[in-house]
Each structure stands twice: as structure tokens, then as C-alpha cells.
């Protein structure tokens, strides 16, 4: 636990120094006429001070039992979902809202959880239809038509 906290503290210190550097690049100005980098620089200073306090605090805190944050949990499911969302965003404009969302829902209902194909397809189709009606038609939000533009436009 302490080692993990110390690594975090060091990462925060590096981040703080970087923020200070960005502030200097943008120019600090003076007290009378602060420039765009003024606030950024001083926030960077605060981050460095806090990271030092964080680091020093690890020496004072009692050692806690080490817990592995990644063992015994299904973290891969979250990673798969994130990857699916990234693909969805890439396909959103070309395929359009209806088709890309349908495919994403099928994956989420079927790919990540054990459901029958029938249920997954049914839930996905119903959800897309209701969402399109509510958000696209009733609330008039503009979704990309994509490959279905010949029907929707």
C-alpha cells in the first residue's frame, strides 16, 4: 500500500512540475497584470506541494495489508466495453446512429453477459427504436443517418 501511494505521489509531483512548465511557457505576467500562465503556474506549485505532503504522509501512516486491485475481479470486461465504445465512436458517423447503436447494444447484451441471441436481438432492436423515437423524433435531436440516409432523409 505504501509503495503504491509513494508511486502515486511521485507521479503527481511530475505532473505538477509539468503544469508549472506550461504556465511559464504561457507567461506569468505580474501581480498588476497577470498573464494566461499565472493561474496554471501557481496551481502547478500547489500540486507539487500536495504531492510532497502525500509522499511524506506515507511514512507516518500505518502499513495496511496489501490488496491487489486487479486480482479476482473481472476487469477485462470493462476493458472490452471500452474497446467496443471506441469502435462505436469510429463507426457512428459512417454507419449512422441506428445501425451502430444496434450493433453496440447486441454486443453489450450478448457479448458481455450470458443472454440468448433472441433476447439480445429483441432488446437491442426495441431499445434503438424507442430511443430513436423519443430522442430523434420527439425531442428532434439530430442523429447521423449514415447508411440508412436513403430511408431517413
Amino acid at each position: 500500500m505504501r509503495k503504491r501511494d509513494r508511486i502515486q505521489a511521485l507521479l503527481w509531483a511530475v505532473f505538477g512540475l509539468y503544469v508549472m512548465y506550461e504556465g511559464i511557457l504561457l507567461k506569468l505576467g505580474t501581480g498588476r497584470a497577470p498573464k494566461p500562465g499565472f493561474m496554471i503556474f501557481w496551481v502547478g506549485v500547489i500540486i507539487v506541494i500536495l504531492s510532497a505532503l502525500f509522499f511524506l504522509g506515507t511514512f507516518a501512516a500505518p502499513e495496511q495489508e496489501r490488496t491487489d486491485l486487479w486480482r479476482g475481479i473481472r476487469w477485462l470486461r470493462g476493458a472490452k466495453l471500452a474497446a467496443a465504445l471506441a469502435l462505436y465512436m469510429a463507426a457512428f458517423q459512417p454507419l449512422g446512429f441506428i445501425l451502430s447503436t444496434f450493433l453496440l447494444l447486441v454486443y453489450m447484451f450478448k457479448g458481455l453477459e450470458p443472454q440468448s441471441w433472441r433476447n439480445a436481438l429483441l432488446f437491442s432492436a426495441a431499445t434503438v427504436a424507442i430511443c430513436y423515437l423519443v430522442f430523434g423524433v420527439f425531442l428532434e435531436l439530430q442523429f447521423p443517418p449514415g447508411v440508412l440516409s436513403f430511408i431517413l432523409s
Binding site: V19, P36, F38, L69, L81, Y88, T127, C131
Partner: protein, 498 residues
């Protein structure tokens, strides 16, 4: 405008058929969001905000406010029946509410929770109506140093009252301030931290950031857990509290209403905090403290009143000063700006129909909630049984629609996903997202106030010392930073946070 004319205007606005409909839709959705653990009020308001773009400002805020206080009502249902808070502010209700359910008193717990929330809501609206006009007049004397002081106090308070280590919470505030700086400098127009990426010139939009940090991250975190919710199977008989229940609850409800409202008024004070403080007070002064944690109805009545009153209190700084006191109020601020209505000292004067219409609508909404929550409890229980594998795709979908519809850009969905990853890591390593979001939103306002103050004072920092309100706010902020160093207080804060 005199008080009676203002009331008439408010009634006419609130009782317009479309506004009544939006109020009903808002409280219904809010209750649903509160009942279902996973999405949270901030996420729900962020997701549904784009749906209000085609409405008038009054209608938009009526609906969003309905979602906000509706979620407080709904959150208690899962706390009592499932021992899982549907909403963070209902954590405390789990302690005694679930025990009451196990003793066959679920109906009375749910009933008292609804009545307590109703009374507190009524009280909250009355207090806003009394306080806000006076505070608006006072706010005309506020300048940049006063605003700077209040915002620093709000950020400090959010770290003091938040969960986890205070150093980590302060780091979150600092990170939020940095994120708020991304985009064009508000005074000179110079691009900052944009790295030549054009979409970043406008900075990060609040809605995708909130949805990512609170919505997507929650789903990612829950997916890796194996737990299923267990709904306590009990016959819900007798939703009306009996005489003994009222005898024990009227004082906690009264205390909770006052406490919750004034905690909510303070920037950084939240419904979560007010409910915890109320519980602690009731346990402390009760003649039967040993019953707390074992089904004491006071442990439900007081905190539920407090959390509902706090939602109304939190509207005061936004409507009168233009300062959001928590994440949801920041979203309200964004909604108002999008609709071209600027909250602040001039709001009541320039838009009396808006202010009084929203006030009356909140009374109507509270009545609707009382009517909805008691008879429909059976329906909410069925909804609770919907498995998470059905719910999470819907949550993801609403987040995607919400983030896209703000500006109709895929890049906002990408931002949401990135912040979803950040939020997930924050949960793993126990960083609180609340201070980050508050700092992200207040950061640009805070920087502008700071730079204006320095320009006014020709670079002298004594402007923050010679102005009493600014000095008072900054001294209080310093006190909240230093108090945890006192061993007794630091330990108490850690215990409360755990």
C-alpha cells in the same frame, strides 16, 4: 414587484399545462433514477440536459429541478428495501431503513421517508422564497474579491466534507482547476493546453466530463464486480406512519429541514453531508441512542428531511450569486447559460416569472412526489429487480446520446470515454470525483475573479484582507484546511468518511 404579484406570476407560470407536464416528467424520471443504483443524479441531469434545449428556460429548469429532488425521494426506496443507496445522499437511510424492513416495518419506513421529504421540500421552497430576494440585493455589493473568497471556501469545504484523504481531495481540486484552464484564456483569448487540437479551443464541455466521470466509470467499475442486488421480500402493508412514528419523527424532521437547507446553501455543502450530520445529531440527542442502527425511525426521518432540504438550499447561491454549490447546480448553470438566462443578483429582478415560476413548481413537484411515491412503491420494487445486465447497456446508451447531443460532435463522446477511464482509475485508487468536478466548473470563474481582483488592486494582495466578506471566507477556508490537523477532529473526520 410586490410579493403577491410575484406569487400570482409564479402560479400562472408553474400551472401552465406544459410546465406541469415537464414537472411531472422530471419528478418521475428523478424518482426512477433515485431508485436505480448506478447512474446518480449528476449523470441523469447531464444526460437529460440536452433534451431541454428545445424548451423555454423556465420549463428546462422545472424539469431538471424535478429530476434533482425526485432522485432524493427515490434513493430512499432502495436504501430501505435493498440496503444499497440508490443515491449517495440516501446512504444513511440504509442504516435504519433496511433494519425496519427486516422487522416488517418497510411500509412505515417508506411512508415516513416520503412525508419527511415532503415537509422538508415545502420548508426549503419557503426559505428560498424568503432568502433569495434579500441575498440578491446583498450580492450587488459583491465584487471579484468576494466571489473569489466564496469560491475558495466552497472548494475547500468540498474537500473537508468529501470522502477519502484530504490531500487526495485537494489534488483533485487542483486537477479540476487545470482541466478548467484548457481552452481559450477568458481575458486574453490565448489558447492554453490545447496542443493544437482544434476541438480543445472551447475547452472540455462539462456534460461529457460529468457523464464520463460519474456514468461510464460507474458502469466499468460495476462490471468487474460479481454482486447481484437482493431485494428484501416483504409485504408492504401500512404505508402511513402511526401516531407513535410521528411522535418520534416530527422533531428530527424539523431539525433535518433547517440543517439540510443551511448546509445546502454553503458552496460545497451537499445533500450527502447534510444527511450524515443529521443522523449524527439525532443519535447524539436521542433518549434511545442504542436503537440507532437497529430500526430507529428517527434515523430515517431526519436524514431524509435533511437531504431533501439541502437540494433546495443548494439553489440559493446559484440563483442569487451565480455560483454553483455542487455538481448538479453547475449543470443547472450550464443549462441556464445555454438558454441565455444568466443567474445572479439580477435574475429575480429581470426574470421574476422564471424565479417565482420555478419556486411554485417545486411545491407542485413535491406534492406530485408524495402522490407518486406511496402508491407506486410496488412498481418501484419491480423495477429494482431488473438485473444489472439489462440496465448497464441502457445507462451507456443514454450517456452516449447525452454527450453527442450537446454539440453534435463525436469528439465529445471520445472525451466522455476518456474521462470514464479516468473516473474508473479514480475509483480504484480512491480519489473522490466531486471536488474535481466542482473545481473544473468553478475554475474559470475563480481565475477571472482572481485576475480582476489583482487588476483592481494594482497587484496588491491586501484587497483580500481589507474587504471583510472576502477575508471572512478565506479565513474560514484556511480553518477548514487546518482543522483536520487537530488529532481529535482529524480522527472524527476519518471515522465519518469511512
Amino acid at each position: 414587484m410586490d410579493f403577491y404579484s410575484a406569487l400570482q406570476l409564479g402560479v400562472a407560470t408553474a400551472f401552465h399545462p406544459m410546465n406541469l407536464l415537464y414537472c411531472f416528467v422530471g419528478v418521475l424520471i428523478g424518482t426512477l433514477i433515485g431508485v436505480l443504483p448506478g447512474i446518480g443524479t449528476s449523470g441523469a441531469v447531464a444526460i437529460l440536459m440536452p433534451a431541454t434545449f428545445t424548451m423555454s428556460p423556465v420549463s428546462a429548469i422545472i424539469m431538471l429541478a424535478g429530476i434533482y429532488y425526485g432522485a432524493m425521494y427515490g434513493g430512499s426506496t432502495t436504501s430501505i428495501l435493498v440496503n444499497i443507496p440508490g443515491e449517495a445522499a440516501s446512504v444513511v437511510t440504509c442504516f435504519d431503513g433496511y433494519q425496519m424492513a427486516r422487522q416488517g416495518r418497510a411500509g412505515r419506513a417508506l411512508g415516513m421517508s416520503a412525508f419527511g421529504s415532503f415537509i422538508a421540500g415545502f420548508f426549503g421552497v419557503a426559505m428560498i422564497s424568503l432568502l433569495a430576494p434579500s441575498l440578491s440585493r446583498l450580492a450587488f455589493d459583491f465584487g471579484p474579491p468576494e466571489f473569489f473568497g466564496l469560491m475558495v471556501l466552497g472548494l475547500t469545504l468540498s474537500t473537508f466534507l468529501g470522502s477519502g484523504s484530504m490531500v487526495k481531495a485537494l489534488l483533485m481540486v487542483a486537477l479540476g482547476l487545470v482541466l478548467g484552464c484548457v481552452g481559450m484564456d477568458p481575458i486574453s483569448g490565448t489558447p492554453r493546453l490545447t496542443y493544437g487540437i482544434k476541438p480543445l479551443l472551447d475547452g472540455f464541455d462539462m456534460v461529457p466530463v460529468v457523464m464520463g466521470l460519474f456514468g461510464i466509470s460507474e458502469v466499468l467499475f460495476n462490471l468487474e464486480q460479481e454482486k447481484e442486488r437482493e431485494v428484501y421480500e416483504t409485504k408492504l402493508k401500512g404505508l402511513l406512519p402511526n401516531r407513535e412514528d410521528w411522535k418520534r419523527s416530527w422533531a428530527p424532521i424539523t431539525r433535518g429541514s433547517f440543517l439540510g437547507f443551511f448546509v445546502g446553501v454553503i458552496p460545497g455543502g451537499t445533500a450527502v453531508i447534510s444527511s450524515f450530520v443529521s443522523y449524527a445529531i439525532e443519535k447524539r440527542i436521542s433518549k434511545r441512542p442504542e436503537e440507532f442502527g437497529k430500526g430507529a425511525i428517527e434515523g430515517v426521518a431526519g436524514p431524509e428531511a435533511a437531504n431533501n432540504a439541502a437540494t433546495f438550499g443548494s439553489m440559493v447561491p446559484l440563483l442569487t450569486l451565480g455560483i454553483p454549490s455542487n455538481v448538479v447546480m453547475a449543470l443547472f448553470l450550464a443549462a441556464l447559460m445555454i438558454h441565455g438566462t444568466v443567474p445572479g443578483p439580477m435574475l429575480i429582478q429581470n426574470h421574476p416569472e422564471f424565479f417565482w415560476g420555478v419556486m411554485i413548481s417545486m411545491i407542485v413537484g413535491n406534492v406530485m412526489l408524495l402522490v407518486l411515491n406511496l402508491p407506486l412503491i410496488g412498481m418501484w420494487v419491480q423495477i429494482l429487480k431488473v438485473p444489472y445486465r439489462i440496465l448497464f447497456p441502457l445507462i451507456i446508451l443514454f450517456c452516449l446520446i447525452g454527450s453527442y447531443s450537446v454539440n453534435y460532435r463525436v469528439v465529445d463522446m471520445v472525451v466522455m470515454l476518456l474521462f470514464g477511464g479516468v473516473g474508473y482509475l479514480m475509483k480504484k485508487y480512491r480519489y473522490d470525483g466531486g471536488p474535481l468536478i466542482l473545481a473544473f466548473i468553478l475554475g474559470p470563474l475563480l481565475e477571472t475573479a482572481l485576475r480582476q481582483s489583482l487588476i483592481i488592486s494594482h497587484g496588491e494582495l491586501d484587497i483580500f484582507v481589507t474587504r471583510p466578506l472576502a477575508l471572512g471566507a478565506l479565513l474560514l477556508a484556511l480553518a477548514f484546511l487546518l482543522i483536520p490537523l487537530v488529532p481529535a477532529v482529524g480522527k472524527k473526520r476519518e471515522t465519518l468518511v469511512e
